[in-house]
């Protein structure tokens, strides 16, 4: 599957945007500029981008508590997102949602989600809408290795098969749910097999390799788009930060994080691959880096200057109309 150069650059730009967004958010939390609970996606960029590069605005995704990466990859306005995290009324969600509820339904982003496995049932609904309408849109839900143990996730998988809808279940195994290892929380030895036992194919990818995820996601999405029912993607890749900002990460093995950053960095790996194939030059990627850094700088600057919400806004946006 040869990927056009423009798409390669775009994929890299997206991954880099996620990386810099997250690193900057981390810094601004430390600075006391961002309130609430925030979960960073750094290290897992290839999953979000490898999947979303196959999607249009009419396809939907639904994300998790660790949602920034998915939203950026699906085309959310990065400046609006930063403003949202800062709690501005000019934020993507007017400062009402924050990190755990970033959303842009017009872009097919049905939201980050603060409830573990809250998303898959909703994604099945979006897929069902596509089936009823007879268009060929697909609906992607992201779940973590911990999330797959929640009943709603299983229900959604079985229901998607029963209704034969184009739902794609992306399972991101970053080895931990909070402070607990997948080795403990998933009882069986083979999560991929447990997922497939529900009755749909699951495509596995190295989650530190954009190209691997892109290929696996491509197969899954093609399967679903063609009317063959749901499919899964199973990608493994660690996260670089704690579960949430502030997590002491007592669960990590010695050298684990160093190894992750060293050998399993989606951005480094992408650059290495490009150096190998020569499809995109280092200078071109450097230029993207510079653009992204400028964008994130601008986002933070704008977010700091953005208007703050006022008390009257508290009761707005609950309903469309309410007598």
């Amino acid at each position: 599957m040869a990927i056009p150069k423009e798409k390669l650059l775009q994929a890299y730009r997206m991954m880099k945007t996620i990386r810099e967004f997250e690193e900057r958010v981390n810094a601004e939390i430390m600075n006391g500029q961002i309130a609430g609970f925030t979960h960073l996606y750094t290290g897992q960029e290839a999953n979000a981008v490898g999947v979303c590069e196959h999607l249009t605005d009419a396809d939907t995704i639904i994300s998790t508590h660790r949602g920034h990466g998915h939203c950026i990859a699906k085309g959310a306005d990065v400046i609006g997102m930063m403003k949202e995290l800062f709690g501005s009324s000019a934020g993507l969600c007017k400062g009402k949602g924050g990190s755990m509820h970033v959303a842009d339904v017009d872009k097919g982003i049905l939201g980050a989600n603060g409830i573990v496995a809250g998303g898959p049932p909703i994604s099945v609904g979006s897929a069902l809408a596509a089936k009823i309408r007879g268009d060929n849109h697909v609906a992607v839900s992201f779940s973590g290795d911990g999330s797959v143990n929640q009943g709603t996730c299983f229900e959604a998988m079985n229901m998607a098969v029963v209704l034969n809808v184009p739902a794609i279940f992306v399972i991101e195994n970053n080895y931990y749910s909070e402070h607990t290892s997948i080795n403990y929380a998933v009882g069986c030895d083979d999560l991929k097999a447990r997922t497939e036992a529900f009755g749909f194919p699951v495509f596995v990818a190295d989650g530190s390799d954009f190209f691997a995820v892109y290929e696996a996601a491509g197969k899954a999405i093609e399967h679903a788009r063609a009317g063959n029912g749901p499919a899964g993607v199973f990608a493994e890749q660690g996260r670089y930060h704690g579960h949430f900002v502030g997590d002491p990460q007592s669960y990590r093995g010695e050298g684990e994080l160093d190894e992750l950053r060293e050998k399993y960095d989606p951005l480094k790996n992408f650059r290495a691959k490009m150096a190998e194939t020569g499809e995109v030059s280092g200078e071109e990627l450097d230029a993207v880096d510079a653009e992204v850094l400028a964008l994130i700088d601008q986002a933070v600057e704008e977010a700091k200057a953005a208007p703050r919400p006022t008390a009257e806004e508290v009761t707005q946006d609950v309903y469309i109309n309410y007598a």
């Binding site: 639904i62 339904v105 909703i122 897929a127």
Partner: protein, 333 residues
């Protein structure tokens, strides 16, 4: 006007809404029936028969599901987020227990959490309340609990006429609506026009008008309250009987106006007493109509117990006309 049961009135509303609008579909357990079986698919139409005939006309918009209530509500919520108008059936309101997150934390909060930039026009239907000797897990009203959650609208029809009009409003409404059908009223009839009509949310119905006491009642308590009030006419006591029809939004104006006129209030519901609608409305009046009050505000409801099985016990559990009469007299005492 033709007489129809509440079941048929709701069924008619569904048929008419689906005829008019392609984005309406129904989803739930056995809403068609016989899927995968040798019998005729569609021959069930819901265990209470409310979705009868839909599969036969619109097989693609009558979605049978596994027993997975969270996935049912989620499917409705997700489809609504992308522009459909699903009407999901959760067989018994008690089953909210297995799908509450999708109702209160997902469907009901999208719009707010997303900064007002989405809509979720889903309707979830529930067969609600007691009266069938169905015991603790199949008899709860549950609508009082759902009223607590901002972002949801809560409808409780008390007769076939209202049920049809409220259902048509619910389907057209752009916010998520929970529609509680008192199952003991499914077979009750009223005059129901054949044509489509809507009844606005947040507008109470004055079932009776009177001067001495304001009675507010919900769902299956409305006919019981009416019976109690009618019997009291002989004793020279006349009451307003207000059926709010929707508990969220609530027609506070109608209730307060009536209480200001009568000075006395009795609130009736079949749910247990704690943090329920009877307290909710009593609290409203004790603040906003305080100056007019001439007697204690009485609440008539079930005791603080689960619903018992034995018919005698259930009869003692669910408020009846006798208890309503007693409360009216107490507030007059």
């Amino acid at each position: 006007m033709p007489e129809k049961t509440m079941r048929d009135a709701i069924n008619e509303a569904l048929h008419q809404a689906m005829t008019e609008d392609d984005s309406v579909f129904v989803i739930g357990e056995d809403v068609a029936g016989c899927q995968g079986a040798e019998g005729e698919t569609g021959s069930v139409g819901g265990v209470f028969g409310v979705t009868g005939g839909i599969y036969n006309k619109w097989p693609d918009r009558c979605i049978d599901t596994p027993i997975s209530e969270s996935a049912i509500v989620g499917a409705a919520a997700g489809a609504a987020l992308v522009g459909m108008r699903p009407v999901a059936e959760i067989m018994f309101a008690d089953f909210i227990g297995v799908c509450m997150d999708q109702i209160i934390n997902q469907m009901g909060k999208f719009r707010y959490m997303f900064g007002g930039k989405s809509k979720c026009p889903a309707v979830i239907r529930f067969a609600s309340g007691g009266g069938f000797s169905a015991a603790g897990q199949h008899s709860q009203a549950m609508y009082q609990v759902m009223t607590s959650f901002p972002g949801l609208k809560v409808v409780i029809p008390s007769n076939a006429y209202d049920a049809k009009g409220l259902m048509l409003t619910a389907i057209q409404d752009d916010d998520p609506v929970l529609f509680f059908e008192p199952k003991v009223l499914y077979q009750e009839t009223a005059e129901v026009p054949d044509e489509m009509y809507t009844i606005p949310f947040g507008e109470a119905n004055f079932v009776r008008e009177g001067d001495d006491v304001t009675v507010v009642a919900f769902g299956q308590m409305v006919p019981k309250a009416a019976a109690a009030i009618d019997a009291l006419a002989d004793e020279g006591i006349s009451c307003d009987l207000i059926d709010p029809r929707t508990s969220s939004p609530l027609d506070t104006g109608a209730i307060l106006e009536s209480v200001e006129a009568t000075g006395r209030l009795v609130v009736v519901d079949e749910a247990p007493p704690r943090c329920g609608l009877t307290a909710d409305i009593a609290g409203l009046a004790a603040d906003k109509a305080f100056k007019s009050l001439k007697g204690p505000i009485k609440q008539v409801c079930a005791p603080h117990s689960p619903t018992p099985f034995a018919p005698e016990l259930e009869a003692a559990y669910i408020p009846d006309a006798g208890k309503i009469t007693a409360a009216i007299k107490e507030t007059l005492a």
